[in-house]
């Protein structure tokens, strides 16, 4: 504070009044961004946790379902993000050196990579939409029939396990008999006490996560004639996790692109130079984190052995 009083005469326009030196302001901004990144990591941790739990307990779902993802497109997207991270880091360097034109070009290229990433993501999503490979209740891969050859390099394996009937029934039974859902609500609701008496086969909610066992009671008769498909149940869980993870990541890519766009606009106005480039640096940190998360998502979702 008193340093500020001491040389208050040379208070640059970008320096906020409560900071003494540009260095202090820069370091504060940087610390703030790192703290924010730590909250982003914890935000994603929930999804990684869901992934880890289901993968550890039901690996067969993941081995089976990942064949529907196109690992080529995933790999291309990984390369796109790595390149954008490189240009972003380079952009910070250019800002530090006061190379305005290069800075703008690099930022623009980074945004372009973001568009590329989202474009490929869109192609993947659209394909899944048409194939009925959707999360939870909407998982309905019958539209996928006769068309799963091109989805991935492992198409031959996928053919051995016809997807049309696999694991659809638990889902449908929920959709067809909505009143059955009431039976699994916790004991605190009046409905469940009566319902669970009627369905004596129901796993009592107090014993544990009835979840993975619940559909069995109503689908037992249906499954009797299709015992071949019982190997892989609950494939929809994979797509729930896939869409949740890539969706949240995609939102972060969009947010990063907007931030970089704003930084690009300010760079074109010549606001940044060797003395002040904090926004470029902070936007870069954010963008690298988005890249970093994708580095884990790619092998976890696309490359399951």
């Amino acid at each position: 504070m008193n340093q500020h009083e001491a040389h208050g005469s040379e208070h640059p326009s970008f320096l906020a009044h409560h900071f003494a030196t540009p260095r202090q302001q820069f370091e504060a901004g940087k610390l703030g961004m790192w703290l924010f990144l730590s909250t982003e990591i914890l935000l994603f941790s929930g999804l990684f946790c869901a992934y880890a739990v289901y993968r550890a307990n039901h690996p067969e779902i993941f081995v089976y379902a990942h064949h529907f993802l196109d690992s080529t497109l995933g790999a291309i997207n990984t390369v796109v993000l790595i390149c954008s991270s490189f240009t972003m880091a380079w952009a910070v360097r250019s800002a530090q050196l006061g190379q305005k034109k290069r800075l703008c070009v690099l930022l623009a290229f980074t945004i372009l990579c973001g568009f590329g990433f989202m474009g490929i993501k869109f192609i993947e999503y659209r394909h899944k939409w048409h194939a009925g490979l959707l999360p939870g209740k909407h998982y309905n891969p019958q539209a996928h029939e006769g068309d799963h050859a091109p989805v991935s390099g492992h198409a031959d394996e996928a053919e051995h396990q016809p997807t049309t009937t696999a694991a659809r029934h638990p889902v449908e039974s929920a959709a067809v008999e909505p009143e059955h859902q009431a039976a699994t609500t916790p004991a605190s609701t009046p409905a469940s006490s009566t319902a669970s008496e009627e369905h004596t086969l129901q796993v009592p909610p107090t014993i544990g996560p009835a979840g993975l066992a619940a559909p069995v009671t109503t689908t037992a008769d249906v499954h009797a004639e299709e015992s071949t498909d019982e190997k892989v149940k609950n494939v929809q869980i994979f797509f729930s996790i896939y869409f949740a993870m890539t969706g949240l990541h995609g939102l972060h890519v969009l947010a990063g692109m907007s931030v970089i766009g704003w930084v690009l606009w300010r760079s074109m106005r010549g606001e940044f130079g060797p003395l002040y480039y904090t926004p470029v640096d902070l936007a870069g940190l954010y963008w690298h984190l988005v890249d970093l998360i994708w580095i884990y998502l790619f092998p976890l979702l696309y490359l399951i052995h």
């Binding site: 370091e27 991270s85 060797p274 092998p299 490359l303 052995h305």
Partner: protein, 115 residues
């Protein structure tokens, strides 16, 4: 500002400028590692495949964090934040995995009880 003795100030105001060669080197290393990740799935290592993929991903993540995100030249506190938050992530995931794995047999048991 913490006590000046602990503080490490750079002489120039613009902080550390990373050389273009280093940035490009990291970029190439990341691309190579991506190829390695994809290639690794064709080698059958059983359960180790997942771990191999995670190790490669972690090396890539470290490259990004240390060089692209400047952690190597930053105050160490920023790195502590990153490592600290990852410790809490591991704590979270670790406890939940331990618990779900422990009650899983109970569910499977119920499953076989009422097929």
């Amino acid at each position: 500002m913490s006590s000046p003795a602990v503080e490490h100030h750079h002489s120039e105001d613009q902080g550390h400028v990373v050389s273009l060669g280093l940035l490009a080197g990291v970029w190439l290393a990341l691309l190579v590692l991506t190829v390695v990740t994809v290639g690794a799935i064709y080698v059958n290592l059983g359960k180790l495949n997942l771990w191999l993929a995670m190790i490669i991903a972690t090396i890539k993540a470290l490259l990004v964090a240390v060089y692209f995100m400047h952690l190597r030249w930053d105050r160490p506190f920023n790195a502590y934040i990153l490592v600290g938050s990852l410790i809490f992530v591991l704590l979270f995931i670790g406890f939940v995995m331990m618990d779900t794995a422990a009650y899983l047999p109970e569910i499977d048991f119920k499953d076989t009880l009422h097929p």
